[in-house]
């Protein structure tokens, strides 16, 4: 257990709303090893972002609260830390890249200051040192004329450049773990490719661990070593990227892969989808949360919730009727 940088155990984050208790993170366990890039995949609203926010200690409260589990980062349980100590772990041990840089940057603060304030806080730099360092970081994330751009405001940057600034803020204190929450979703494909290259470069330079949250399986294939698939607040499958794409075990994973358009498919064929909708968090189905949409569902799936278990040589799956199991 100690060689994992991040070890999440039975994490439960609940939202206490007027409609009842919602469980966007409902017993999630996974780990990220040092130097590893792990993908966390799932549809919108399946609890990916809430998982990330739980790790960062940023669950919006009210209505959210972490009610159970453990989050070990570098052997230290983050959930046992008081707020003040937890703050000193942010940026230094874990940095987060948010989804939409156009709203995640302060519109009335110079970009240089937004990077520098982080380093001043955590690395004991004075303003001049921090500004110098901020220039280096902006340069490193590929922003041309970095020195001049320090005094620009976010609205003077393009979408892709803004996301680079966001990355600069996340990496400026050299965190061990980088959490990226769909950082390329709002950008067009060419910019997306550039940013994926940038992340890969940065990772190769420093050998950091990355938790990459996305709904885009293409990005996962491109970037990740290992993948977790989340559905309705739970991890339903975990495998290496290769395994997952070649031999998906969970019917939901198989459905996700099936619904990716491929070049070979004939144009007339409509895009495949998974039947039905993700469950309403307030009214979760009994048993396996996926059973109402699953073509393999049986009595047992309705009654009993499957647990995440080892399947085959590598990988875990939470399903009573896993696919592609060869003995």
């Amino acid at each position: 257990m100690s060689e994992s940088l991040l070890q999440v155990e039975e994490l439960e984050t609940h939202l206490f709303t007027k409609e009842g208790v919602l469980k966007p993170v409902n017993g999630v366990s996974f780990h990220v090893d040092r130097g590893e890039t792990v993908g966390l995949v799932g549809e919108s609203g399946c609890g990916k972002t809430m998982t990330a926010l739980s790790i960062m200690g940023l669950v919006p409260n009210p209505p959210g609260r972490i009610v159970g589990g453990a989050i070990q980062l570098d052997g230290e349980d983050l959930l046992q830390l008081d707020d003040r100590t937890l703050r000193t772990r942010r940026s230094v041990q874990m940095g987060m890249i948010f989804q939409d840089a156009s709203t995640a940057l302060n519109p009335t603060m110079r970009v240089g200051d937004q990077i520098a304030e982080t380093m001043q806080r955590h690395m004991g730099m004075n303003a001049a040192e921090a500004a110098l360092h901020a220039t280096e970081i902006l340069d490193r994330v590929g922003i041309p004329a970095a020195e001049q751009r320090l005094s620009d405001y976010p609205h003077q940057f393009s979408g892709g450049m803004r996301q680079r600034v966001m990355i600069a803020i996340a990496i400026c204190c050299n965190p061990e773990l980088l959490i990226a929450d769909e950082p390329t979703t709002a950008l067009d494909v060419t910019i997306q490719a550039q940013l994926l290259d940038l992340i890969r470069e940065l990772k190769e330079d420093v050998g950091k661990s990355v938790l990459w949250i996305t709904h885009d399986l293409g990005v996962v294939a491109e970037l990740c070593d290992r993948v977790m698939v989340m559905y309705a607040g739970q991890v339903v499958e975990e495998a290496t990227v290769e395994e997952l794409f070649l031999r998906p075990r969970h019917p939901y994973t198989a459905g996700l892969l099936d619904s990716m358009p491929t070049l070979e498919e004939r144009r007339q064929e409509s895009l495949k989808t998974i039947e039905g909708m993700p469950p309403n968090m307030a009214r979760m189905p009994s048993g396996c949360a996926f059973h109402p949409r699953c073509e393999y569902a049986s009595e047992r799936c309705v009654e009993e919730m499957p647990v995440l278990e080892r399947s085959g040589r590598e990988g875990l799956v939470a399903c009573w009727h896993p696919l592609n199991i060869e003995e």
């Binding site: 940023l58 703050r87 000193t88 942010r90 603060m109 304030e117 982080t118 806080r121 609205h155 803020i169």
Partner: protein, 313 residues
């Protein structure tokens, strides 16, 4: 920022010309003939057509509209606001004596209004939906729902006559006298609801913004998150609205100064209006309008300072 400032200041000029024109037109077209009013007041028996015509000529009121306007603007630019019909004294020096009184009163009220309003609004936002929040907003709304001409005598009765906390509050002994306390407080507290509500809503909106989460994700202490990231962004609308409360202070001074018998600009306006004192009405209207335009200009410039997105447009 420089181009922005120049643009704003240049826009100021046509507005002033428009104000000069509209003020004069309103006076020109307004009900009541100033000569007739005056003649009737002095000696009704003299109110024959001939005298009136002669007086018209003396005051230059028989000339074409635009000529009169040009003449009036020219005089005002030289600081000559004409004579009061009632007292036959120059209006310029009267204003020079009275306006500073109102300015002190207004400035003191504005400071309390702004600082108190922002402070209470911030408190309400940070304690959102607790009893503190409800108490602040509720009380400010309650006070605001009384018109000032009801509240002024009411507080005078309670504070001066019943509780005997203050000596008589009528008149003016300077801004640092006991007499100034009640009018200043009334002035600011009745206006609190504006900045309180805008500050509260502005901060609450900003508190849920993604960039505040980013600031927290950086590991900044909550104090810095609030001061650097929340307050500056959340107060933009408050600052904008504070410029607009200046017009409220200008109009509010009419009632307040009359109620407290403060010999300021507002009292002068009320006296001028009730006496149909043509020159005083135009002078006070013009000054009121200029104060409002001036504060709007300052607001615009402040807006540019606070929000870089405005500056670069």
């Amino acid at each position: 920022m420089l181009t922005y400032t120049i643009k704003r200041v240049l826009l100021f000029i046509p507005t002033i010309i428009a104000v000069l024109f509209i003020t004069f037109t309103l006076g020109y077209l307004g009900p009541g003939d100033p000569i007739q009013t005056q003649v009737l007041r002095v000696n009704p028996r003299l109110a024959d057509q001939e005298t009136i015509e002669r007086l018209r000529e003396v005051y230059g009121l028989n000339r074409p509209f635009l000529v009169q306007w040009g003449d009036w603007v020219g005089k005002i630019l030289r600081g000559d606001f004409g004579k009061s019909f009632a007292t036959r004294t120059d209006i310029g020096p009267t204003i020079a004596y009275r306006l500073p009184i109102s300015a002190q009163l207004g400035a003191a009220a504005f400071v309390i209004l702004a600082i108190g309003g922002i402070f209470l609004g911030t408190l309400a936002a940070l304690k959102q939906n607790t009893w503190i929040d409800h108490f602040i907003v509720g009380l400010a709304l309650f006070i605001n729902s009384f018109p000032i001409f009801v509240l002024a005598p009411l507080t005078m009765i309670v504070v001066v006559l019943w509780l005997k906390l203050l000596p008589s509050t009528l008149g003016w002994d300077g801004i640092f006298s006991a007499k100034a306390i009640l009018p200043i407080l009334l002035f600011s507290v009745t206006g609190w609801i504006g900045p309180i509500r805008l500050t509260r809503n502005g901060l609450i909106e900003v508190l849920s913004q993604d960039y505040v989460r980013t600031a927290r994700a950086k590991g900044l202490p909550e104090r810095l998150v609030i001061l650097r990231h929340v307050v500056k962004n959340g107060l933009i609308s408050t600052v904008t609205s504070l410029g607009l409360t200046v017009s409220g202070i200008v109009t509010g001074s009419l009632f307040l100064e009359a109620a407290f018998a403060i010999p300021g600009y507002g009292y002068m306006t009320v006296q001028g209006v009730t006496a149909n004192d043509y020159n005083i009405i135009m002078a006070t209207t013009l000054i009121g309008a200029l104060l409002v335009i001036g504060s709007n200009l300052i607001t615009d410039l402040l807006y540019g300072v606070l929000d870089p997105r405005v500056r670069y447009e």
